[in-house]
Symmetry: C2
Subunit: 428 residues, 2 copies
């Protein structure tokens, strides 16, 4: 067992009620007596206990880290310190984005426990997208989240001493980073015990990917960037399962994988999950073409996320560049301002190229690695599922190896439309 | 005043003798009684007290940080913690390179003081190169130093948790990093109080550089890399004034600027100082051409440093790659091994491009920024000095903006020969 501190114990409903009763602001928020509270353990993630607590006056969510991976059990220990990093990231995101993340009511480092805002009637975005639900405000809100959190924790906004302090503060979150390093950047490209995929239909794809030298060089370059580029504070796991929302309100949750890393990893995570959802629609629609308008919304939103992010990030850079990178002293006068404006575009183009690569990595891991998405898993017909998955894999492989061929989100959208019509050969 | 800890006091010779008398192993090494020791303060650097201590049996060097920049005085405070980082880096370099750095005899965190090996009859390399001294072993030894320290602290050699712990451990050395960020990556390209240059001869160059948009974009990209790329543990100030040597023995000293940064910064520092020395020879030779064979040695050594480094770094990668980057699992079999071999070459080419840019930055700062090199400063004829400096600046500017035009050390050597014949126009 890893760093189990004195005083830690995993709470059950009864222990939690007693605990919350002692937290006056939380008890007041719930109202009534602890006996009147309903407490339900609802954790459907892989790692933690999550309790939904309702009282007569209101509700809260309580998230407690377990000293092991819940999905696997005590055989896979995982340090409780992830609650510390989650709390640190969530606090920073709250400060930077306001109500785009849950409000924190209480944090207990000893119990690795966070009491936070209950989001109702929000649902996990992935489930909404499987149901074909349109979220008209999502592109605007997630692009704000990305721009505000990434810009304000980068060298464009921070002086080097403050940024290095953040790097130091997150440098201990190694166990969570290692999950990413192994499951996203390594295992899908080698024989690994935890890998799984739709068999035998995708056997030829899995085998081909394991033998694809260009792809393995590309994923290794991305891994090196993940290991060594401390560009900004990342959420670190920004898929559509880390978003809870309604048509009106978007919240990003679960930043326990947070660390100082390459910006494209977070942006790519969002975009990857949109492409996965796009290709999964064939497995969810009632008849061929029934989800066509939903497909259009997905692809429009895909483009809007990047374009919204880029516009907001550039606006922040133009107005709030108080960091040590690209010092304004060097770009004075009309010529200097014009030259910096050009360089900002070049910077965004480099960030886009990173984003394309990281998005591809996130797509491939969901099909050939350990952790799959219900977007695809819930497609019962294995041949149908495998066809959707083969389309995701084929586009992702090309995005990673030939990222220069995808200079804009529109170029990926065009390729996605093409591959969605393609009938991939299957094994077995 | 910054972090002056309880118990810190700057030592004078008498206090130092009393202090060393209490350190039994050091006292034994010196031999005799404290009264028999000769203590001389020899610090000619910009930051610290340095004492040379001789006793009947042997000698030691004592380096103590002052809470301010010695060159400037108490008006420029500088944290004593730099001794902590110097000790940490020196210990790591000693472990990795053996006798390529001084042995540490004692470290006192409270006094910010390191007692270390006295290097005699070593001299500062820069002084040797001004005198035209050939160091036949230098290319081999410095390339070993670079390869061993950079490889073994990179993601190629370390698992991510160990590397992140190093990043965290060095993340507090912000004051020293800021000196680099300001004096190398910013000030030479703007009007700054501390800048100085040979006036009026170089006035047109200084003005042109301050108005050069391409150059300012290029230096800003390098600065961003310096701020955000934690590739390996750097010495951080690896010029020829940080090397003490004889014809037989090379030692790297003074790693107080150490932090986890981009590898090309250290390699570029060495190469930059060789180019500066090359162009300075015209100001030191007894008659035109008298130093021609020395020039040849400098240029041959310039090439050998990179080639030696690249060969040793690649050999380490081939035999000791225990890190998380480029996992060997992904590159199995003849095809995998061949593909990884190709990627290693591509990696070295990217590192070379970084190196060229950082070398250029180090050349420019020594002529337009605060801290100059005696290679050039000791040229008494200001017109002669300015001509040498204009050659350095002109090559450096092209290296930084058009680094792709310099794919090999030989291409820089060819350009250096060309510019050494060039009669630059001077201002005034």
């Amino acid at each position: 067992m890893t760093d189990l501190p004195a005083g830690y114990r995993a709470l059950d409903a009864k222990a939690l009620a007693n605990y919350l009763a002692e937290l006056k602001p939380v008890a007041l928020r719930l109202g009534g007596s602890p006996q009147s509270w309903s407490i339900e353990e609802v954790g459907d993630g892989n790692l933690n206990l999550v309790f939904k607590v309702h009282g007569p006056a209101g509700g809260v969510i309580v998230k407690q880290a377990l000293p092991y991976v819940r999905l696997v059990g005590e055989a896979w220990p995982l340090p409780l310190s992830r609650a510390h990093y989650e709390h640190m990231a969530l606090s920073g995101q709250r400060r930077l984005t306001g109500a785009l993340v849950p409000e924190i009511y209480h944090y207990d480092e000893r119990l690795a426990l966070i009491v936070m805002e209950l989001l109702e009637p929000h649902i996990i975005m992935r489930r909404g997208m499987i149901a074909g639900t349109v979220y008209p405000k999502f592109a605007d809100e997630i692009s704000t989240f990305l721009a505000e959190t990434l810009f304000h924790t980068s060298d464009l906004a921070l002086t080097a001493d403050v940024k290095k302090a953040m790097i130091g503060a997150f440098s201990g979150n190694t166990a969570l980073c290692k999950i990413t390093e192994d499951l996203i950047f390594t295992d899908p490209y080698r024989i690994a015990k935890l890998n799984r995929w739709t068999r035998p239909q995708l056997d030829p794809y899995a085998e081909r990917f394991r033998g694809d030298g260009d792809l393995k060089v590309a994923i290794s370059r991305l891994k090196l960037k993940f290991l060594s580029s401390a560009e900004a504070m990342l959420h670190g796991d920004l898929h559509t399962g880390s978003v809870m929302l309604t048509a009106e309100d978007t919240r990003v949750i679960d930043p326990e994988f947070a660390f100082m890393g390459p910006m494209g990893f977070d942006i790519g995570a969002v975009l990857a999950n949109f492409l996965i959802s796009f290709f999964s629609q064939a497995g969810h629609e009632e008849g061929p073409g029934a989800r066509d308008s939903y497909r259009e919304w997905i692809l429009e939103t895909f483009t809007s996320i990047w374009e919204g992010f880029a516009a907001k990030f550039l606006a922040l850079w133009e107005t709030q560049a108080k960091g040590d990178a690209y010092p304004s002293d060097l770009f004075q006068g009309p010529l200097g301002v014009a030259r910096l404006a050009g360089e900002r575009q070049a910077y965004m183009q480099r960030l886009w190229a990173d984003t394309v690569g990281f998005a591809a990595a996130k797509m491939i891991r969901r099909i050939l690695g350990l952790a799959h998405n219900i977007d695809l898993e819930w497609i019962k017909d294995a041949d149908m599922r495998a066809r959707c998955e083969a389309r995701v894999l084929t586009l992702a492989r090309d995005m990673m190896v030939n990222s220069g061929d995808y200079p804009t989100p529109q170029s990926i959208v065009a390729a996605a439309r093409h591959f969605d019509q393609w009938q991939p050969p299957l094994g077995g």
